[in-house]
Symmetry: none
Subunit: 277 residues, 2 copies
DNA sequence: TCAATGCTGAAATCATAAATTCAGAGGGCC
DNA sequence: GGCCCTCTGAATTTATGATTTCAGCATTGA
């Protein structure tokens, strides 16, 4: 009984319901789940019943209060939107599934990419690129255990288009040296995803103390570094139960690079020219 | 203003919001629209802000009360489920092309991902993963100027699931040392994309001479290293005229890692367990 | 037709959530 | 480095919505 969907409970219980309660049930199923998320009075009116009847209906479904019932609806809704493709481990045709591993993986990666684009406000993205294109002060990059390579990739590209790009490596011993030149208004880009790296908190704290502006690129669960960040670009990373993928962060990094290049073309083109030579 | 979606309003207003209000905005976008249907206190807690801040946030979006805001969310939800075919996500056509940069970039990246999946034969992909999961001999990784970070990323993951993983760095001086232990039947994964790195040809030549099996991950124009490769995984990278993106290579690398982990789970899980400890 | 039973919704009560206030913290700017 | 101004969240007040009560009405069976 506990783990059942609200709609499921209605179907189970509908025989036991009285006439007016059935109207409530029909109303809810008719615009599911929205009507149940409205206040009781509105639910009642839309369904052509009284508030009291709606409450009795909800109680008959086994919920101990109206808010409790609404919580169930919200959780159901959340569940649905969280997993766009139900990726259960239940064995389908195994050989077939194996053959399509790459396709399925890519489909999921595509979802993550699109989800990320929806999650990131355009103005936030623009602000990051514009700030990078200003060429004001230094620009530091850092990442965690795996995301450090993203920081490295981005550094390699940014070096081409602007001066003052530096990488902060993870070794505590060298951290003080690296931070020594950080000045107020400098920019720092930090990559951090789940199993958030504790050392990045230290780095961010130190950077914040030195008044650097922190840009955080993270996952949908939001690294604790966000506390120190001026700008945050969150990406979707979820791939099934066990594995998170950083592909969306990587593509976001590339988008930032591409856009920044575009914005700072007048100055960047000169640097690029002289590097080619 | 009246007819705008809540998400749209957030995107419009986000630059005017204060730090804590942005946390609220991100929280809502992160689990949209469910969080907004919860009581203020719950919204606040989930988003890491106070109730007061959430109320200010809602007011900043132009709603005259929290219930008013919730009604808007419900109507939106109702709207979406009513329309027979879910039309493509971001419906509003924005006049400002710049504001669309990220969307356009992501759309292109999605094309590349799908194109890559189409370009790579499933059997080729499976062969690479199966060979990696065998745990036979050593596994070397190398990349070019930018793709070296992909090699690094993959190395970091492969180290977790199998022994004998090494990275070949690009310095000619140390190359001889690194190659000294390469044995026939060892595996080498090389990343190389356009403006192909000449030094990788040398590396590949040397590896081939020592009878290593070379796996090449490259772009659609095919690195010259392919001449020495036993298996080739080509990806689409084209993004308009000036810029190639490596996001598809990155995701391919992640797919290989994920699949290899799956295939070698009996042995890999033990390693993972001991690393966690 | 007349009880008896139990469903229903209007109104009263109670609980909880929304809105407001304000003192203190934090950040930015000379 | 110090001042000022804005932002923030705890505490308080206000409002709204959930719950209960109960009188009346409908339905059913004798």
């Amino acid at each position: 009984m506990e783990g059942k969907s609200v709609a499921g409970r209605i179907h189970d219980a509908i025989h036991r319901l009285t006439a007016a309660e059935k109207r409530a049930a029909r109303g809810l199923l008719g615009s599911y789940p929205t009507l149940g998320l409205a206040p009781v009075a509105e639910f009642a009116q839309q369904a052509g019943a009284s508030s009291a009847t709606v409450l009795r209906f909800v109680s008959a479904l086994g919920y101990k209060s109206y808010p409790d019932f609404q919580r169930a609806l919200r959780e159901e809704l959340e569940e649905r939107s969280k997993s766009p493709l139900q990726r259960s481990s239940t064995s389908d045709v195994r050989a077939d599934a194996d053959a399509q591993f790459l396709d399925r993986f890519v489909a999921q990666a595509v979802d993550n990419l699109r989800g990320s684009a929806a999650l990131i406000p355009a103005s936030e993205f623009e602000a990051v690129c514009a700030r990078l294109a200003e060429n004001r002060g230094a620009c530091y990059l850092a990442g965690g255990r795996f995301t450090d390579f993203l920081a490295g990739y981005m550094e390699a590209h940014l070096r081409v288009i602007r001066p003052g790009v530096r990488r902060l490596d993870g070794r505590p011993a060298t951290r003080a040296d690296q931070m020594i030149d950080v000045k107020p208004g400098d920019l720092a880009i930090i990559f951090d995803v789940r199993r958030y790296d504790p050392s990045l908190i230290d780095v961010a704290t130190e950077l914040a103390a030195r008044r650097a502006q922190i840009v955080l690129i993270t996952d949908e669960w939001m690294s604790p570094v966000s506390r120190f960040a001026k700008l945050v670009l969150p990406c979707r990373t979820e791939m099934g139960r066990t594995w998170d993928a950083n592909g969306s962060l990587f593509t976001l990094a590339e988008a930032v690079i591409a856009r920044t290049t575009e914005l700072s073309w007048p100055t960047a083109s000169k640097r690029i020219g002289s590097i080619e030579a």
